[in-house]
Symmetry: D2
Subunit: 129 residues, 4 copies
């Protein structure tokens, strides 16, 4: 499972003293972007060269414990599913060995005209590396 | 089902030209806060007077169509479940009659010491109004 | 001076218990957008019909007191300057009669090719209404 | 001048295709936090051990060019002024050698009772390192 570190800033927290629940979706985004980059693929290149965007069609998150200001979090990302019409990433957000949040996002591939496409085989192969 | 309006600002959108997927959780928050307020209860009062916070322990969203800059959205909120240990809100985000996003959040009640509590009966009764 | 109301949500606050300093720029955006709308002009229409964007080239804010969760804020916006090459909006964020934050943004007009343009006379006239 | 890197995510951008103007204040926060950390001081420790918060009382930014999705930005931070009653940080946001945004934040020191205090001498000495 791939991992990237993230330092919680003031702007991520809320007046409950912990990270605001929506901001974990930013961490999910960081996780999947770095997952692609480690496989030699930037998401920007997918957009620009393949003319595809991979929008989120579904997200879920379960919050087990709270991240606090200045915590150094570990964003772990893995591919849960890679089919021709959808791809699912799974995420775990940890502080040291404590699992704080787990979630997933489901993506489809859409071309410049807004039409849902099959994921290109070479893209799936890179994801499955 | 309760409804509140929300105007999409530039700061809600991303370079894909649509509302960033995490920002819908802000709308979910607006929805449930106004749901409480219409029943005569401010979430701030729940915190201050009852000494309870109602953190989100689970969220999900399904994205069917995109909200764009300056769209006037309708946030519809209803109570899906109200048990002594958890409460579930359901949300629909619409533009005119088009359903863009639907989701839910699950909440527990936690006291000032961080302990999970039963939802007070009077609070449940207000939610069920 | 034009006025629009804004309710502070959890997602606007930080672990200091008050609105995060960056989020006031969202309120400034709401203020100037509604300033235009009251004069019969949507910013989206400026972009789409005139082919102009009006990016912020300068912002400043002075924080005098803190907005808190659930506060109902008043965003007051006025035009401070309208020249052919730049427009300056001034903002005041108040809670009841208390001034919390004041700021300004300076904008230029840029066409679809990214070139700085003069503000069209009809646009300046609408702003000056 | 201290430097820290930041990768622009989708959630930082807006439908104009560039980073939303408010989000640079998040980068300013990252810059000053890492400025402290490099001098052996975490801002969290200032809060917890000294009982001081250092709120922003003034911010300004000038936008010269736009950061785009996936850009790797350099956040340069330096101390512009350190007096007993206020501290000013200056920031430059660059992509490679191109200056995109420059800004500053002014801070005062406030104790747990909300009273403005002198900056402790040891804190000023660390800042001036």
């Amino acid at each position: 499972m791939d991992e990237v570190l993230y330092r919680v800033i003031y702007g991520d927290t809320d007046c409950g003293g912990v990270m605001y629940y929506a901001h974990y979706m930013r961490l999910f985004e960081i996780g999947r972007t770095e997952y692609l980059r480690k496989r030699g693929l930037s998401y920007r290149a997918v957009e620009e060269e393949k003319g595809l965007i991979l929008p989120v069609v579904e997200v879920s998150a379960r919050y087990k414990a709270s991240a606090r200001y200045d915590d150094l979090l570990r964003i772990k990302t893995r591919l849960l599913e890679a089919k021709s019409y959808k791809v699912v990433f799974g995420y775990e957000i940890l502080r040291d060995e404590d699992l704080l949040v787990e979630g997933h996002t489901t993506h489809v591939a859409i071309n410049r005209e807004g039409k849902v496409m099959r994921f290109p085989r070479d893209l799936l192969e890179i994801l499955l590396k």
